[in-house]
Symmetry: C2
Subunit: 188 residues, 2 copies
DNA sequence: GCCTCGTGTTGGACGGCATTCAAGAGGAAC
DNA sequence: GTTCCTCTTGAATGCCGTCCAACACGAGGC
């Protein structure tokens, strides 16, 4: 794709806008970032943004697609590493983007496009968690529900800004419970 | 309180505004409810609302205070009933007010007043969950972390509009894990 | 009965927001 | 050189939350 110079320019500009949007959303929040302000950052008239994106929600989806894709790519490289390192890494990633995550959940209430993207993103992330559980024999037979629970807990932890100490306590308890489940399975 | 007729009128009007705000927030969402619209519902000029409430977030907090207080009151009446009935009831309550819950989490990012109220509300709710866990000997020694996890899961379930079937699977898994923990404690 | 004063209420304005429209610039293709 | 599509823009629209200054009203003191 992007055969002609024209299409190349267009894609570059799109990416530039998305990069600026990600920075501003993270720094000032979604509602705190006006299209005006974003346009000024990219040195362009506000209306120009609407040639590249249908509306502000489309911009949010564009930003999030790249964030999640980058996250899943990084995960591929971390496959097979220690479980608690993976958990810590995932919580760190969620933490850095917590304002974006909160915004997606808010906009998903209103925009069906955001909701649709949010749902598929959850599916992808939870598939990855399920795979990790399965490869370790954890939550045997309940991998799907366990993955869902884990994603809810991860979102809760970052949304509520739990301290490092609390994060550790929560993760430890969860791991403790999942290990008991393994032992229980072994006995039966 | 509310000694004079004057103060009685004021309190009545305040309550009337809060009742209308709750209805509109639930029906059209927080952002979908303009001060204009709310004022029209109460048959009053938009500015009048600002005599009773500092700003829109104060209105949100006022609505939520009443919702949570009513919920905790109802909980007192349900103390000692079966655990799964309590869980189902709590999820139902969260479900009915899910748009309000989502809004609080969104505004808490921006408004320190909303954040402060949100934090104390969580504390109250989790204290109640802890008490239930303790009275049943569940999550022995990890009651605080377990209560936190349970509140995160409850919020996740309603925010992500899990189906009844999925809710059942998630609750069942969690209960299963907590019971294993009890058996483990008994053996040691 | 009148006046004062604090309690409510209002019209009108302000600045900011996302978004739209119609007009235009610029360059590639013929 | 002209056409035509891609991209950009200034200006406007209709919302929004909030503020200010003026005004109504009724209770309490005289």
């Amino acid at each position: 794709m992007a055969r002609t110079n024209r299409e190349l320019d267009r894609d570059q500009k799109r990416e530039e806008i998305l990069r600026a949007a990600r920075e501003l959303f993270l720094e000032h929040g979604y509602e705190g970032t006006s299209m005006q302000r974003l346009a000024a950052r990219v040195k362009v008239a506000p209306n120009t943004l609407y040639w590249y994106f249908a509306d502000k929600d489309a911009l949010l989806i564009g930003v999030m697609k790249r964030v999640v894709q980058a996250g899943l790519g990084e995960y591929e490289r971390r496959r097979g590493t220690a479980l608690d390192a993976q958990v810590r890494w995932m919580l760190g990633l969620f933490w850095e983007t917590r304002t974006l995550i909160a915004t997606v959940h808010n906009r998903a209430q209103v925009s069906s496009e955001v909701r649709a993207w949010h749902d598929t993103a959850h599916r992808m992330i939870e598939k990855a968690i399920e795979a990790e559980l399965r490869s370790r024999g954890l939550a045997n037979g309940h991998e799907v529900a366990a993955a869902r629970i884990m994603s809810f807990i991860a979102e809760g932890v970052v949304a509520h800004q739990s301290s490092k100490a609390e994060q550790t306590r929560i993760v430890r308890l969860l791991m403790h419970l999942l290990r008991l489940d393994v032992d229980d399975g072994a006995l039966r």
